[in-house]
Chain length 143, copies 2
Amino acid sequence: MNNKNAVERIEYELTTFIRRAVYIDNSENKIGNLERASYLILRQLEEFGPARVKELAASFKLDISTLSRQTGTLEGKGLIERSSDPSDGRVSLFTITELGREKLKADKKMRLARYQNMLETWSSKEKELFGELLERMNEAFFD
Amino acid sequence: MNNKNAVERIEYELTTFIRRAVYIDNSENKIGNLERASYLILRQLEEFGPARVKELAASFKLDISTLSRQTGTLEGKGLIERSSDPSDGRVSLFTITELGREKLKADKKMRLARYQNMLETWSSKEKELFGELLERMNEAFFD
DNA sequence: TTATATATTTGTATTATACAAGCATATAGC
DNA sequence: GCTATATGCTTGTATAATACAAATATATAA
């Protein structure tokens, strides 16, 4: 297979995958799970610690107003907590709460189960390699 | 790396990738390109031939009414063409037009260029393997 | 020939989003 | 120190994609 065909296949499969994954996300958040946006916010706060609205917006490449609303919703659900930055009164810093951690953990568990299931026939070696390639692809994903 | 960690990495990277890819799609369809939905519809019609609304909806797991509108829009733009099924007057069959093929080709070219760019440092072997793994993942992606 | 089922379209509500306006706070120029 | 400007966030408003429900046209079955 030449280079063009390999890249074509990658593009084809990733496009297909995105459509399916978005569908799954949308149907699952109706049965009580976190939607994509919330999952990403909680994941980021847990991984990198407190963040302000602007940072989150930049991280997900969404408008600040969108993140302002999303953080407001998560705050309302008690999944994240707002505090003010002592050095700048305009800023809201958000931290994941204990409840948020629990919800994130449960949600992640479900997501992992889906992938475990999908990839159950793969060898460990294949899974490792796939993860590694995905990570490299994302590292190169600038715009 | 044990199995759980490998799958965790896969889930993490794919979730990240989806967010970025959705962003790219949304920003690019504002500068005159096809949005995801149209791209998928054209791609399917070109690959598998004429299809009816119901089939397209099932294929993308979207509501029939959504596809009815999307096909209407594409028809209005001259990218697909409606014909009636001689054996069933209720059915609309859609076929990609020449203009649709051109638009699809141009759009695909752009998408491929992005991936070519992202993966330019990869060896042919890696690209082939990555495409193969993605394909296998999608084959196992049931719901 | 009428009742029921199916394919599609159209009406309506919801949701995620962006952009613009407004408000509070911070920083810079004088 | 005081006013002008910049920044961070929230809130108002518009748009677009979507689902669900109602309506319409056609097909199939009783």
